[in-house]
């Protein structure tokens, strides 16, 4: 029963990782852009929520009403003002520009908020739980995070396969030049993809900030978890990414149960094993 509890908590944590991964996956899927600053953008939105909560006194979850549109707009501007200019010259420019961006965001946050650890206070929600048995209880907060992750992935799937915008995303992903010839404004579509990715990122950032402490330096580790969830699940498959996140969460929580030093290491090792044994991930979308 104790092991079941560990696995359930790990799986719920995996929901958060899937949420981290969804934005990364979307940007890569649409424009083959791997955003090294992804983790730092998660942390940036957490600080954004912190400022809003401190200024207005609203509940952290309510602050999403402001944080999500803000990050959406920021994402649109970031893509049109900066990242679009990196997409024509091979793999180095996008990688190194987002790497530079990552260092700028991290040190900017450090300068503005110091290295102190922060947290968003969510009142009773933080400790409320649903008791399912002697040794099994599910916290409401982890459960909500997991449900949000499933809902976001379901909505993204609907958007990709049922709407005109989704059709444009898939078209530029397959062949940007041809899509542009048929009237798709690719710079605008790329910017919308990043905007949407950052909206998901902001959701993930706020939920992370309620769940655990954060400081300016934790971004890169979130990037690695997001990346691992994408690769474990298999490129191009959003539901696979959810499964990848869950597997990563379970590995970390089993590792932590063995020895605290093994928590993060166990996740990385599962990732490396998948890479060795199933390099295309567990649920690859397309055949080669």
């Amino acid at each position: 029963m104790a092991w079941l509890n560990i696995i359930v908590q790990g799986a719920l944590l995996g929901g958060l990782y899937a949420l981290f991964a969804a934005g990364l996956s979307l940007m890569f899927g649409v424009m083959r852009l791997v955003n090294i600053a992804h983790g730092d953008l998660i942390v940036l939105s957490a600080y954004c929520a912190l400022v809003i909560v401190q200024a207005t006194g609203m509940h952290p979850l309510a602050s999403l009403v402001l944080v999500v549109p803000l990050m959406f707009a920021f994402g649109y501007g970031l893509q049109r003002g900066l990242l679009n200019f990196t997409l024509s010259g091979g793999i180095l420019p996008p990688l190194l520009v987002t790497f530079g961006l990552s260092v700028i965001i991290q040190n900017g946050l450090l300068e503005a908020f110091s290295a102190d650890s922060r947290r968003l206070q969510a009142g009773a929600l933080e400790t409320a739980s649903l008791r399912l048995g002697d040794q099994l209880a599910i916290g409401w907060l982890p459960a909500i995070v997991f449900i949000v992750a499933v809902a976001v992935i379901a909505l993204l799937e609907q958007l990709l396969y049922r709407t005109a915008l989704g059709r444009a995303f898939r078209a530029v992903s397959d062949d940007a030049d041809t899509a542009q010839l048929s009237g798709v404004e690719i710079r605008h579509v790329f910017a919308l993809a990043t905007a949407l990715a950052l909206a998901v990122v902001s959701l993930a950032g706020v939920l992370l900030a309620i769940r655990t402490n954060f400081d300016p330096s934790i971004g890169p580790a979130r990037l690695l978890y997001a990346f691992e969830a994408v690769i474990i699940g298999g490129l191009g498959s959003l539901w696979g990414t959810l499964a990848g996140g869950v597997l990563l969460g379970i590995a970390q929580s089993l590792g932590a149960a063995l020895d605290p030093g093994w928590e993060i290491l166990a996740g990385h090792i599962v990732f490396l094993l998948v890479l060795l044994l199933r390099p295309r991930g567990l649920f690859p979308k397309q055949a080669e």
């Binding site: 090294i36 990688l95 700028i104 690769i231």
Partner: protein, 358 residues
């Protein structure tokens, strides 16, 4: 120089011959630094040398073979920990231990290549980063080497290197100089060799290189292993100088990879001169912005972003284009000698044999 009737192939240029003379003067000045500099100068110089070595290695990886590694801290850390393990646990003398630590880092790079080479492009970058994290977390579990808090180098080991602090500074300084100059020379000689031609070909077009018979995978593996060996030597030397090691310091992505990426990108990726210029700019900026804390890194990041967008060949690329400079003669230039067979115009301009694709 090669003469065959109607044309001739030049390797050196006027700039490169001048540069050779200047380089000789600089090396002579550096060799004599312990005579006129204090220990602070020597420490700064050693730091410059190991960043120069790391920058040359990263430039080979990213600039020539497209392996944009964010995981070089793995090998710096392994070199550092290798040095501590060899001297403290096995009682090996410091000097051979440095060499062995470098070799150990290169050997460990072989199995890790087997895993990370499954990832391409940007995914390789993040995958190599994960490998760096794995080694950091693993070393934190090794209790004989201090676990998560790390350990100091025992006094006995320090004394076995040199009896006094002043003598130790001089030994470390010359080791650093050898490492920095050695890394630049190694890259230079490699690029002039047959394999160097393959490297340049891969830099300019992977597909075209493969189509003329270059074994891309083998070349990349060689670069990966050599770069790891250089990083390992840097790690051994850096933590010998610091006298203390911990997983966070040894496997720091900021210290050992981010700074190096900025150096190479700002200086100029895909040339030998770029990382040298980048190292000078990096330490110059650091001296200027020393009192501004995080603003220093923000400035570096912004400068790197601007360079990548506006001048992807870096500051050296701008200079080389403006003045036609090439200090390290690794290209071959074809000059037509027989005027009757020469193209009508512009007959005086040398044709670059190693033409770049950009």
């Amino acid at each position: 120089m090669l003469r065959t009737g109607a044309y001739r192939i030049d390797r050196s240029t006027r700039a490169s011959r001048v540069a050779l003379a200047v380089a000789a003067v600089i090396v002579a000045a550096l060799l004599s630094l312990p005579l006129w500099g204090d220990s602070g100068d020597m420490r700064l110089a050693v730091e410059i040398f190991y960043y120069l070595a790391l920058a040359q290695a990263w430039n080979l990886l990213a600039g020539y073979t497209g392996l944009v590694s964010v995981g070089q801290q793995a090998y710096v850390g392994l070199g550092g920990y290798g040095f501590f393990a060899l001297t403290v646990l096995l009682g090996i003398a410091p000097l051979p231990a440095i060499a062995l630590a470098g070799i150990a880092a290169a050997v460990i790079a072989l199995p890790t290549a087997f895993v990370v080479f499954r990832l391409r492009g940007a995914y390789f970058a993040i995958g190599s980063w994960v490998v760096g994290e794995v080694f950091r977390l693993l070393l934190a579990l090794v209790k004989p080497l201090g676990g998560g808090t790390g350990m100091s180098l025992p006094v006995a080991v320090v004394l076995s290197l040199a009896p006094s602090r002043a003598a130790r500074d001089v030994v470390v300084y010359y080791l650093g100089l050898a490492l920095g100059a050695g890394a630049v020379s190694l890259v230079f000689l490699w690029l002039r060799s047959r394999q160097g031609l393959a490297l340049t070909a891969i830099r300019d077009s992977e597909r075209a290189a493969a189509s003329v018979g270059v074994d891309n995978r083998r070349t990349k593996l060689a670069v990966h292993i050599i770069a790891a060996g250089i990083a390992g030597l840097v790690g051994a030397l850096a933590f010998l100088e610091k006298l203390r090691i911990s997983p966070d310091a040894a496997f720091s992505v900021g210290d050992w990879t981010a700074n190096v990426i900025f150096i190479v990108v700002i200086g100029g990726i895909g040339s030998i001169e770029g990382p040298i210029l980048g190292t000078i700019v990096f330490f110059g900026l650091r001296a200027l912005l020393v009192d501004y804390g995080a603003w220093y890194l923000i400035t570096l990041g912004a400068l790197a972003v601007a360079v990548m967008l506006l001048a992807p060949q870096g500051l050296w690329g701008l200079l080389a284009r403006a003045f036609g400079w090439q200090f390290f003669p690794v290209q071959r230039r074809l000059r037509l000698l027989d005027l009757r067979q020469a193209p009508p115009k512009p007959s005086e301009a040398p044709i670059e044999a190693a033409h770049r694709e950009d």
